[in-house]
Symmetry: C2
Subunit: 145 residues, 2 copies
């Protein structure tokens, strides 16, 4: 997948506002609206843009607790086993296998610490989980996703 500077600028516009009109983007990058749409379609087909989504503020809905949870597993637990055990919990917004002592890292969002506790309990119910280590988020300093 090849990409030029105009593509990058179009992506930049879409990152700022994914619902902006193609004509607006075209005005910023010096292209007509159809030309912009063609490039966006190409970027989607090429897998560079995987989709468009709304940014929802969880805090505005009362979800004020955020944590990272290290998972320590038995023997050689497969990543797939971890995924399938965690996938049914919507509070787990991201999960990674990682280097270091822990086997996996969970990114969790809950309404409050009590809610977090129930999530942790369910996480620990997976038979391969030996130990969890949680780190609470106090504040977000940077958010560039």
């Amino acid at each position: 997948m090849r990409t030029d500077e105009t593509d990058e600028r179009i992506i930049g516009c879409l990152l700022r506002d994914a619902r902006s009109a193609y004509a607006d983007i075209g005005a910023q990058v010096g292209l007509s609206a159809p030309a912009v749409k063609r490039r966006v379609d190409r970027l989607r087909a090429g897998g560079l843009i995987t989709g468009f989504t709304a940014l929802v503020d969880p805090a505005a809905l009362g979800w004020t607790t955020e944590a990272f949870v290290e998972l320590y597993c038995t023997g050689r637990t497969s990543p797939d086993a971890i995924r399938s055990a965690m996938a049914d919990q919507p509070e787990i917004i991201a999960a990674y296998t990682v280097t270091g002592e822990a086997d996996a890292l969970l990114h969790v969002r809950t309404r409050d610490t009590a809610h977090l506790e129930t999530v942790l309990e369910r996480v620990r119910m997976a038979p391969f989980v030996q130990q969890t280590k949680s780190v609470l988020v106090l504040s977000r300093l940077i958010d560039r996703r």
Copy 2:
């Protein structure tokens, strides 16, 4: 900010595809296009929806390295000092102050490990940084942002 079940379903549609037409969303939730737009406008005004963005796959652009970096700082370094020292590095896609031994947690994305090393060097250049502890991401198991 009050929200009902229809609002939730509209948000669900927008999370799946932020560029879908209001008429399409309306068809899914049983509302007309103008009614959907009114609700979306209200959700944006209420701060629940903070914006719309494109989902870009960094791996497709050759950014294959992802890491979490714990920051250990001197004395009582203010969160604001950490933010301003890290904000100029686009490779840091998120930063949090956290509980536990570390003072902050950085979420970093780079092209490769060599690139990560240069980022870590610049991070360590901040005068308040005593130590960093990095954890490399091996694979993403879940991604629900």
